[in-house]
Symmetry: C2
Amino acid sequence: MSNSNGTQAVDRAARLLSEVVHASSPVTFTELTATCGLAKSTTSRLMLALERNGLVRRDDHGRFLPGEMFVGFAWRGGADASLVAVARPFLDRLGKATGETINLGVASGFAVEQVAQVDCAHLIRGTNWTGLSVPLHCSAQGKVLLAYGAAHLPPRLERLERRTEKTITSLVSLRVELAGVRARGYAVSDEELQPGLIALAAPVYRYDGTVVAALSVSALASRVTRDSLNTIARRCVAEAAGLSSALGYRPRARKFAP
Amino acid sequence: MSNSNGTQAVDRAARLLSEVVHASSPVTFTELTATCGLAKSTTSRLMLALERNGLVRRDDHGRFLPGEMFVGFAWRGGADASLVAVARPFLDRLGKATGETINLGVASGFAVEQVAQVDCAHLIRGTNWTGLSVPLHCSAQGKVLLAYGAAHLPPRLERLERRTEKTITSLVSLRVELAGVRARGYAVSDEELQPGLIALAAPVYRYDGTVVAALSVSALASRVTRDSLNTIARRCVAEAAGLSSALGYRPRARKFAP
DNA sequence: GGACGTTGTTCCATAAAGTGGAACTATCCT
DNA sequence: AGGATAGTTCCACTTTATGGAACAACGTCC
């Protein structure tokens, strides 16, 4: 190891902690000593220290679980704050592959909020969408969030705002469109939000199969052919799947008997 | 301290980690040395060890943030698994105060899933609801989840299933009922799910104001008067608020200048 | 219910690992 | 450029972690 001087105890404690946190079920003392190859006494001392500091806690049977520090962090929404950090590499890769503008959006109220952006290579006039909200019914991201139940239209809505002449304005047509999105696995907004702008978006899932964000590629409509759109779609869906997997999503996970 | 033998390094590291995780914004190296009163060299070594083990990471400015281990835990839904553990004391207290059966339910599909239960003192025949699903429209918990947007009825639904003669079966009446729930801050199901059974539920919020669960009190209708129902409602709402607060919810939080 | 196997904690001599001051390097600010 | 601030590496010193063994606490199996 390159530089592990004067931190044996901390490294060992971290190793133990890692075992507990990454395990899917409570971990026993004996499993820990075995996995980490430590003496019982050492394991005991370190685990007591971790427990004393709220890093692990013990269930009724004395098995170890992640402690208050982890649980508190998770409940305080620590994950949300780091969505962008986790997503960054995937956005970058998608940007490199397509050369277009990449955005990550989440549902916020009755709109899509952009939380991260990668600017395209051959950009004419860069709009920074970060922090902006776009409508649900006429953006690719919005359609994804609607289609997978991550966003909802305001109740009792009769008509959808017309943004361009291609905008879908009837609830019935939108419902059909959303079914298509679910069937294809991605959504397209072809000049429905802004004339000359085409965008494509794919869903990002988290551990429990819920869609939490939409990953989109936006380009000038004039620059995109049917073929290149297919290529972009494939890349975009792939990166969205990669990000989902980084967020703990395991598509149709199957449990095997132990 | 009672028993802190042979763990100085781990304790110090945990202290540093705690500072980073509980801080609301990235923490600088200097702040850490100051707060924990450690030598620069010690702090540096310990923080490098924590970083190497994925417990903290550093932003562009070298400031410390909770690391992959925390973020991963949060994204994998670690919080959900511990909802029951966090909630237990609140359920117990509510059970003691009312002497009735207490349940905690979350939205799951188009129903309410019971994740925890405390049985009532003067129980005639104990039904264990844990793991069971109850409908959204005729249970107190379901009404709460619907009213606060934590659950949604299946789309294109025309009519609601009639469970008893008091069940609300029209969408319009239900919409009115839900407005009432939001106004009162709690929901009641008076023999709408099962004859002879009355239940009351209050919303549980998390850090971002989203409702994540419903806390309910169920009793035999014959045993409840208008007065006692009011008392129960007050206790139930209070415990739900306590739990919300434990989950990081701060009602209309106000930030003061530092 | 008593004796054993299993599991986890405490004790203690040993030496290995952590400590902090100082020297050194990187970075920022004017 | 030059000085201040922030952070890392070095190294002699000794405090602190280590692991074997004894001990304590449960479960559980006849």
